[in-house]
Subunit: 887 residues, 2 copies
Amino acid sequence: MAKWVYGFGGGSAEGEADMRNLLGGKGANLAEMCNIGLPVPPGFSITTEVCTHYYDNDQKYPDTLKSQVETALADIEATVGMVFGDVDNPLLVSVRSGARVSMPGMMDTVLNLGLNDVTVAGLAAKSGDMRFAYDSYRRFIQMYGNVVLGVEHYYFEDLLENHKEDRGVTLDTELDADDLKQLVIAFKEKVEEELGSPFPEDPHEQLWGAIGAVFRSWRIPRAATYRSLNNIPEEWGTAVNVQAMVFGNMGDDCATGVAFTRDPSTGENAFYGEYLINAQGEDVVAGIRTPQHLTVYGKERNNSKAPSMEMVMPDIFAQLNDVRHKLEVHYRDMQDIEFTVQQGKLWMLQTRAGKRTTAAGLKIAVDMVEEGLIDKATAVGMIEPASLDQLLHPTLDPGANRNVIARGLPASPGAACGAVVFSADEAEKRAGQGDAVVLVRMETSPEDIHGMHAAKGVLTARGGMTSHAAVVARGMGRPCVAGAGELRIDYQEAAMYVRDLTVKSGDIITIDGSNGEIMLGEVATIEPELSSDFSVLMAWADEFRTLGVRTNAETAEEVRTALRFGADGIGLSRTEHMFFDGERIVAVREMIVASDEAGRRAALEKILPMQRDDFIELFRLMTGLPVTVRLLDPPLHEFLPKGDAEIAEVAKAAGVSIEEVRQRASRLEESNPMLGHRGCRLAITYPEICEMQARALFEAAITVTKETGTPVDLEVMVPLIVTKRELDILKAVIDEAADAVGSEQGVRPHYTVGTMIELPRACLMAGEIAETAEFFSFGTNDLTQTTFGVSRDDAATFMAHYEKSGIFEIDPFISLDQDGVGELVKIGAERGRAVRSKLKLGICGEHGGDPSSVAFCHRAGLNYVSCSPFRVPIARLAAAQAALADS
Amino acid sequence: MAKWVYGFGGGSAEGEADMRNLLGGKGANLAEMCNIGLPVPPGFSITTEVCTHYYDNDQKYPDTLKSQVETALADIEATVGMVFGDVDNPLLVSVRSGARVSMPGMMDTVLNLGLNDVTVAGLAAKSGDMRFAYDSYRRFIQMYGNVVLGVEHYYFEDLLENHKEDRGVTLDTELDADDLKQLVIAFKEKVEEELGSPFPEDPHEQLWGAIGAVFRSWRIPRAATYRSLNNIPEEWGTAVNVQAMVFGNMGDDCATGVAFTRDPSTGENAFYGEYLINAQGEDVVAGIRTPQHLTVYGKERNNSKAPSMEMVMPDIFAQLNDVRHKLEVHYRDMQDIEFTVQQGKLWMLQTRAGKRTTAAGLKIAVDMVEEGLIDKATAVGMIEPASLDQLLHPTLDPGANRNVIARGLPASPGAACGAVVFSADEAEKRAGQGDAVVLVRMETSPEDIHGMHAAKGVLTARGGMTSHAAVVARGMGRPCVAGAGELRIDYQEAAMYVRDLTVKSGDIITIDGSNGEIMLGEVATIEPELSSDFSVLMAWADEFRTLGVRTNAETAEEVRTALRFGADGIGLSRTEHMFFDGERIVAVREMIVASDEAGRRAALEKILPMQRDDFIELFRLMTGLPVTVRLLDPPLHEFLPKGDAEIAEVAKAAGVSIEEVRQRASRLEESNPMLGHRGCRLAITYPEICEMQARALFEAAITVTKETGTPVDLEVMVPLIVTKRELDILKAVIDEAADAVGSEQGVRPHYTVGTMIELPRACLMAGEIAETAEFFSFGTNDLTQTTFGVSRDDAATFMAHYEKSGIFEIDPFISLDQDGVGELVKIGAERGRAVRSKLKLGICGEHGGDPSSVAFCHRAGLNYVSCSPFRVPIARLAAAQAALADS
């Protein structure tokens, strides 16, 4: 018989940590904590397979589920000595979702389940606290009514607020047991009014309602958005965790808290957390009460006045600190834990790998290797390559003028600058228009995820370091300042107020997520300093990786950045970027408007020395490293003069009439320039351009080789090939230029000639092309465009829609489409290598800096990836992880 | 030992007709004629393998060639009783090229080889005609000097003209033996002056010089152009034919002529040819003297005054007529023959399959089946499918006003209209700019081929029905009027004169190649009448073909044309073509500028009845035949209003401001619309468009089904799919529309849903897509664009260059690139069928009407091709030939 339910508690469990695919992360870890002897309230997990079954079978459960749940519930009852639905000694349970990976706040939770008009009295009697019992009941109805029954939240809030007003009080805590009893009645009436049927009194009915709600919530839009942002397949499904309730809000010997086993911002090996006396867990996470620090160290470092748990509950703290060490040794990773203290007893409610800033992740990984907890390979595997991006982003220039208008908590590091927006939709909309925006909210909720993703940074007026805004922003790598209590935000007016200052929607602000500062206007930024942890870990990564990592760079600054970040060479230097510079663009335009070869040659003569000087600079910087230079690629019209002044300038330089320049320009117009007269097609029709570029390259290479004594490792790359013959023709032009330069200079340049494989036909014809080409560089940007028939420039109108509809799991321009484009890359690689076994293979599209694409390139047997300078570390780490996954 | 030389003559031969790959067409047929007992001057063929060897080995011959040539030469000497280089009885030979297929006039020929200062005397003595001997010698030096030694032709012409002037004569024939002797001396001096070495006197040196010239001429540019126009691989090479000379110019009992065994214009079973008394063969072909008709019938039909051969040389004519019958029975095809009569004896110099008009080809094929000469399959195989195009082109409206300014020979049927151009280069240039041009020349030569190809028609002032212009134009399917002697053409002035009328370059004329009329201005045309031969042969083709032939059509007229031409169904009906019509375009634009779904739906409501009516008309015409309708495909901006008036009209209809329409229009602009928001992407983002189209289709289908009692065979085609999910989403929309219409009308429409496979990714993902798609139609136009990364619209700037450089053998938009695009089609077909074995497969690109692409589709296992209405017969015939080739 299929096992759908796994119990845990009382010192043992049916599941364990590595069953997270079946039990979800939360369930697997609850079981594991039981197994290693930590105090966990007993419970059971309904597996993710039930979720899959539920959706595959028209929202029906497997036949045997009911009996297995009943058995597991009986086990809880036996362990805790309470009975579900019992009048005197009622067992209450929580029902929580738990997917394979953490989806913070995305899934709905129901607490205090099992309460009804009868059991509430038992709870009151047992706890000796009528107010507590009715507050629990009130919360349950509110939560269950909203989450399971779909009654809008604000109905309950309104009733609560009205009641407080009637009673002349402002805080929930000022309501007494009778108030709460009345509210329970009012809440239940409201539910019946809305639904036409009464609130369910039967605890079993409540339980099955909650279980169903968890499964259904797997497919609500905000969960779908989160999954699509995080590439979580829908078919994974969620588990359901049913667990005996423990209460942190039964008095002052109760508490609830969350903690990280190390500092998630810095990585420092210091216990880091927050707690609230006499509170339920949700109170901490929701950021409604500002929590207190766990440790004395934390309290002092943050200048907090509220006493730490270390001082208030030293015994419990000691137990908790012990748990912390046990968990780290057991999991060999920093953990994010939730706990509750019920009447002096510690209960662990959750453990999971803690989210952390990248800097913290690096420090933790490096420290743990030094502590002997993990080995280097594990350390390298612990860092999400894409997260390195956080470290590499500029921070605020400490010397720059800052008009600091307020301060909040430094919730997620890095600086962000942009126009203020007050809603997630607005953030998404303006970001879609290309604006940098900062999302400003009272507090954030799962509904805001898409806006947080779209924004450059997030600012909230409420909530702590573990609030939704803080956790999610850190995960996304968005700078975040949280809990800036000085801010008054008026959504209606679309403005926020700090003292007498008004900041309106659209005004520019800057936030510094590393120190919590909020500044009016834009503040200058500087390059990040990289920690020694970074260098250490990257050096380990380099020990493991077999894939080369080059960079796409042209300017000296880009090249220097890439070298600092550890690039092994240049994989793509686009010569046309050198064409736009000041004076030379006029010569380039002169060439374009020339009516014949002689005219073009005259203009090319002027360009030659400038190109040569560019290449000399490049080769000097890259001494000893390979440099792939791509010949002119874009359609000529991209260089055309725009506006009358430029047209006149070119006409004068070329000695032709303005009308002629205009006509030539209009003849060069193309309806689909991406598929037009560009790439090697330019060199085929105007070989003199290729000849000039080859000459400039070879003259530069010989000059620098003579200077440095080290031969320039030059790879001449011909773009947009679809046939061997194109390459043959152009290789002949290049070789001829080499011969000519060689005989002029008395030394022949060293070089290889290869091609970009960036069109589907080139992949298919790779065997023939490799007869001539000495290397291939897969241009996956263009290859994606043509394989999909989608122009990156024009995709914006439908790409979001395509991702939302699940047509594309992820934008194929961001992460290589391994099924389609990937198959073409593999075909190209195989056919090329079949003809020329030593064929050097690389990719030079944007994908070269995308971790999963890098892993693909590793598996496809490429020699290197090439990416933008700032993504070099990401690619290095991703390459190392791919190699480790392979070994 | 490898055999490089094959002898023939004296009633037998070492070769035979089916050795044309080795001996070339001419050589193989000379051998065959010997074998069947026809009178052929003895000779030998040097094989095409020698040509290949020559180019593969740095222009060196195989070692044993020399001795084999000597042996073969000795055989000729033995047969004719003459000796090569002998003083008294010199054997003279011709040296001619002969490739596997006929390349008329492309290869150089040398006659009278073996003459020198000594042997010329022997020839004079033997022929008893000093003038003849020196005229032969003079011609030899001229020909050899030019063709083999590379001395410019005009040097010899100048010397000849000067000499005539000195002697005060105007015709060559007025020069006597002494004149010619002096000219021989002058010619040889000129050769020595130009080359620095004397004209070769040694006949063997002459022979090897000529052989080398033939091989070298295989790669001269005009040969390369012809090959590239006719898809003849360079590696085939040419053979060399060395043959004993016979002379048609030794007196009035001599003659030379060319003939077709049936009329090459009409196909009539009548001997058809021309001859000249006392002339050399080149005189007839070059069109310098106007030749006489062979038969009385021919003479009378053409109102010729010059006597026919049938009357002048009745015995020889009877022999020739006998040869004609023998050849037809032997070759089972109409033959094009060359003959010479030397002093009363008939010699056959060549036979080959005769070029013919398509109408003639059809008549010959059908007649020969009726005559029992061939079977139906052979008849079907005899017609070049592409040539049917000639028949299908419009002819001049007999009722239209014609300003006939002159008449020439009806050299190639069909009418053409265009701007007059006087050079092949000009023709190519203006045609490249999209102009229709008529190439006007005194006479044409192989150098003009590219211009003839570019022109709509050809007009010459000189030359007969077998002149270069006539033969080549017929082969190409270009209308041609030849030998219009009234015309005076002045290349310098770029004008032609007819009496007092001047026609300048750029003026529009019309020519009718079917009756020889030349008209000023444009003349109205009408649809062609198709002969019963056409119907008979097409019916035979249909018996053999297994591939369906559908059409791409939307308008009633197109559909009717396609049905008349035998289409099996509609493979592609583009719904957007229906959007442009008068009033509906306003509603379409209203939809496009709508700011929300409600606005779009309102506009779509207006479009729905119009679309439905279109579909009703379509389905009525196509009763019982399958109809594939493609959902909206092009980017919306294609429908946008252009200019202020249209913008205002749309703004009014949509009830929005002009500024809003303008803004919406500018937002819809795309940098690469081909790769933009189009195809199914429109329907994914605006499902209501898909819904309206599906509803219009289903309502129309039910209406027509009720009317006719025959269910409409509707295939709904979703364009531009790259993932299965897109199709899933849209199939759901379509199915929902079908359900809705079904329940409204009480009967559910029959239909299938499939997709165009027109992007590389769709081919690769065909397996997944076929899980949903019930049929695939390969959109090879778009697939070619994306596989090559070439936009058809923008390719003009480099495509000609690409063909000329041999990068593309043929424009991949004209004939399917079987290596690249073809592999993707095969991958798509295989993967699709692997998942859904009955998957219906077709193609609907322009390639559907290209014979070699049709053959590819047959081999790839497709079910049908779909092409434009006028190409349906071509596709039917090509499909039949592909099936025959397969069996």
